[in-house]
């Protein structure tokens, strides 16, 4: 029976305050708390609360047949736990239905895997413990920041005990094969790989309100029809997208909530189709083949690689400087410093320094709190300067 796997990513970075060189050595709190709270409140109002309420209603209506997955980054959890317990509760209510799987990722929404295996593992374990505490689930599914994926990552993730990993269904690794199957990562024996169907996913995430689109308006009935055309016993259709699609990226006025509301019914109208969470889909299907991915891929930009974070010399410089601090920092055994360092690992800080497309101004611009990638880099490097000074001055907790 064909399965639909719906997974929503929930993430908000902890945006940094404007940090001048003259602040180095004086200000050690790097977060722009007011701006973060402002954005969290807006997204909670426009997306998290109404979308969670709608999903809960749909799950109850479908009596277990509508199943979804969430991955909440540690940085958004930090903000929700601190400021919006009502939002946390609404996620917990969803967890209690038994129809929602909560995935694991790196707690800081970081690129740690590419630079420090040790830090990567620490962050995954941290996130796993957090999800267990908050939602009472031991996740068997892993997704990496921005759906970054490679053979090496799959092997490391298998070692950490996961059964499933998610990645982008790009032609770079699929060739002419379909993303609508389950695959086995090269070099892994048990781990299963779910690949995002980017056409169908982006029809909702990016093209939903595009009035010039051939298929505008996209209704749930039309969308379900496209999905129903994909047949086959081993079919798994993976629709992965940002949760903020609902109400924040696509405003309520576009009809996105009506679409979401009608979707389960329209899909389930066909008796062969069912919703499954990633771990269920993986258990119920056999791999159709092996995916070999020596170079990292991601779900970002046309390139589907890591160039949005590591594409220019500033980004390389910033990331290198960040991870170069690790050994000195660990020697200090100072929890406060470690926390500050982890907060700086969030991939968004590096993404803001991306110069691709900056000239044209587009999606990168939309999410960027800085006037230019240069401002982003300057701000970040000043903060790193301060952290590095703090590390040098720290005597460590033990002494």
């Amino acid at each position: 029976m064909p399965s639909i796997c719906l997974y929503f990513q929930i993430h908000q970075p902890c945006r940094l305050r404007r940090y001048s060189f003259f602040d180095v050595g004086h200000i050690h709190n790097y977060e722009d708390e007011i701006e973060n709270r402002r954005i969290l409140d807006r997204v909670a109002r426009k997306c998290y609360l109404p979308a969670n309420a709608l999903l809960l209603k749909l799950i109850e209506e479908q009596q277990g047949k509508f199943r979804i997955a969430f991955s909440l980054s540690g940085t958004v959890l930090d903000q929700i736990e601190r400021g919006r317990p009502d939002v946390l509760e609404s996620f917990q209510r969803l967890a209690a239905t038994g129809c929602v799987e909560f995935l694991n990722e790196t707690d800081s929404h970081s690129l740690a895997f590419l630079f420090s295996p040790r830090e990567f593992k620490a962050q995954v374990l941290l996130h796993r413990a957090r999800i267990r505490d908050l939602f009472d689930q031991d996740s068997r599914t892993f997704r990496h920041t921005e759906l970054i994926y490679s053979n090496d990552l799959a092997i490391a993730v298998e070692k950490l005990g996961y059964a499933v990993i998610l990645a982008e269904g790009t032609e770079k690794v699929l060739g002419r094969r379909s993303p609508n199957h389950l695959y086995r990562p090269a070099g892994c024996r048990k781990l299963k790989l779910l690949l995002r169907n980017y056409r169908l996913s982006d029809d909702v995430a990016f093209r939903f309100s595009d009035r010039n689109g051939v298929e505008h308006p996209i209704t749930a009935a039309k969308y379900a029809h496209w999905i129903h055309r994909i047949r086959g016993k081993e079919t798994v259709i993976n629709l992965f997208m940002d949760y903020e699609t609902f109400g924040e990226h696509q405003w309520e006025e576009t009809g996105i909530f009506t679409f979401l509301s009608d979707l389960p019914g329209e899909i389930l109208r066909h008796p062969e189709f069912r919703f499954e969470t990633p771990v269920e889909a993986a258990a119920g299907h056999d791999p159709a083949g092996e995916i070999d991915c020596p170079e990292p891929i991601s779900w970002a930009d046309e390139e589907r690689d890591t160039s949005a974070w590591l594409g220019n010399a500033m980004q390389q410089d910033a990331v290198q400087a960040l991870y170069k601090m690790e050994s000195a920092l660990r020697k200090r055994k100072d929890e406060g410093l470690l926390k500050r360092w982890r907060a700086l690992q969030t991939s968004d800080h590096i993404y803001y320094m991306c110069t691709k497309w900056f000239s044209d101004g587009d999606v990168h611009r939309y999410f960027n709190p800085y006037e230019s990638p240069y401002e982003a880099y300057i701000n970040y490097m000043n903060i790193l300067d301060d952290l590095s000074q703090s590390i040098r001055n720290s005597k460590g907790e033990s002494s």
Partner: protein, 436 residues
């Protein structure tokens, strides 16, 4: 189209952005096939007639071969120098100095020039505008207030439409201490012009808000930058760990040299080995030298005086960072020139060029702390300089005089069309039998 242009300076004698803009624009227009009669004031006793002037730009300084197309297009250009002491950025005081102590000119022709700047502008206007009697053309294009009387006279004689191109306003140059006579001349020009071209939206806003000119009459055409092959010679002068930060421009109120000095002092407290260079001349130079002394940073702060030609190329190629802290800058071509030498730039937000440039850092001119902080961070992180220089190179390819000239051509065409229609209406009116 045949253009009668009242402009300024041709290479190799250039004192600033106005001349650079006139030259680049003229080349761009000539390349599009327009014929241009270029009228400019020329004060030298050995005042060169057109044919002597031509080789100065037809033969490049570096003697690198120019493209044939360019040489051909320069033939569509006729240059008409008119004897006058006028020069871009001249103020009343400096004009008085010129007339009193001007390198022997006055002894030869004591009664030729105007008694003060305004009188000279009017006198030049009569001489230059009168050219309109001798040649035929389709449109008049004048640059800044000093050419307004000439353009108005040419229009009166010929009845042809007049486009006034504003590169800077008295408000930019003098802040609140404006010269009323200059302001009046700007107003006359702006009101009488059939069409106004502003070098930035910033300037357009000032024209609309301060002079009450209808916004639909004002079009924005950004300046551009021409690549000179000679610049290649000076590409790789930056060596070693010693960093140099450059200010290049007139040392006047408008350019904010004082903010550069204050920021330099703040930077030197953190990075004592940086060298600051202030290149240019102007009425605030003495004051700046005194302030540098007061701040005790003289050993790291240099004044070069007025630079031109290859000296400018050389100083850019030696610099690690270019700062333009202008208080009020209608456009600002110099940052584009800096970018040609792979020098990253920090611009005042109060500049027109900041509207165009994405790959530059921007600060409010008065925020010397922020300016200093940015200078320090840029100098400390070579990766930033590299990426900015690389991206700026790509950006410069899109900022071309060809494109500006195309836009100006459209403006000419619209203006001529409207003016013909108006003339037609007037002609109809005249042909109506008037009651005796």
């Amino acid at each position: 189209m045949h253009i009668l242009m009242f402009g300024w300076e041709f290479p190799p004698r250039m004192s600033g952005g106005l001349g650079t803009a006139c030259f680049g624009m003229t080349k761009g227009l000539a390349a599009l096939g327009h014929r241009i009669t270029f009228v400019l004031p020329q004060a030298e006793a050995t005042s060169a007639p057109f044919l002597n002037l031509l080789p100065a730009y037809a033969t490049p300084v570096s003697s690198v071969e120019r493209e044939e197309r360019e040489i051909e297009s320069l033939h569509r250009l006729t240059v008409n120098p008119i004897p006058s002491l006028l020069a871009p950025y001249l103020d009343g005081e400096r004009y008085r100095e010129l007339t009193l102590f001007g390198r022997g000119r006055l002894q030869d022709s004591p009664f030729v020039y105007g008694i003060d700047l305004i009188a000279e502008v009017i006198r030049y206007g009569k001489a230059a505008g009168a050219l309109a009697r001798r040649i035929s053309f389709d449109i008049i294009h004048a640059h800044d207030w000093m050419t307004v009387p000439a353009a108005l006279l040419a229009r009166r004689i010929s009845g042809k439409p007049f486009v006034l191109h504003i590169h800077s306003l008295e408000f930019d140059r003098s802040g609140d201490n404006v010269n009323g006579a200059i302001l009046a001349m700007e107003r006359d020009g702006l009101e009488a012009a059939d069409r106004v071209i502003a070098v930035s939206h910033r300037t357009k806003r000032m024209i609309v808000e301060r002079f009450g000119i209808p916004p639909e009459k004002v079009s924005v055409v950004y300046n551009a930058v021409s690549r000179n092959e000679a610049q290649r010679l000076y590409r790789t002068e930056r060596t070693g760990p010693q960093k140099m930060v450059l200010f290049l421009g007139r040392i006047t109120f408008q350019k904010g040299p004082d903010y550069f000095v204050e920021a330099a002092a703040k930077v030197l407290k953190v990075l004592p080995d940086v060298t600051f260079v202030m290149a240019g001349a102007g009425n605030m130079m003495r004051q700046m030298i005194e302030r540098v002394g007061e701040l005790k940073i003289g050993n790291r702060f240099h004044f070069t005086g007025f630079l031109q030609g290859e000296e400018i190329e050389r100083i850019f190629s030696l610099s690690d960072l270019y700062i333009m802290p202008s208080v009020s800058e209608p456009f600002g071509i110099a940052p584009l020139e800096a970018m040609l030498y792979d020098v990253p730039v920090i611009l005042s937000r109060q500049s027109g060029v900041a509207e165009v440039l994405k790959h530059a850092l921007k600060v409010d001119f008065w925020d010397t702390r922020e300016l200093a902080a940015k200078i320090i961070t840029v100098l400390k992180h070579p990766a930033l300089m590299d990426v900015m220089a690389e991206k700026a190179r790509e950006e410069l390819r899109t900022i071309r005089w060809d494109t500006a000239a195309e836009r100006i051509t459209e403006i000419y065409q619209e203006t001529v069309k409207v003016s013909k229609r108006d003339l037609g209406e007037r002609a109809d009116f005249k042909s109506f039998p008037m009651p005796q």
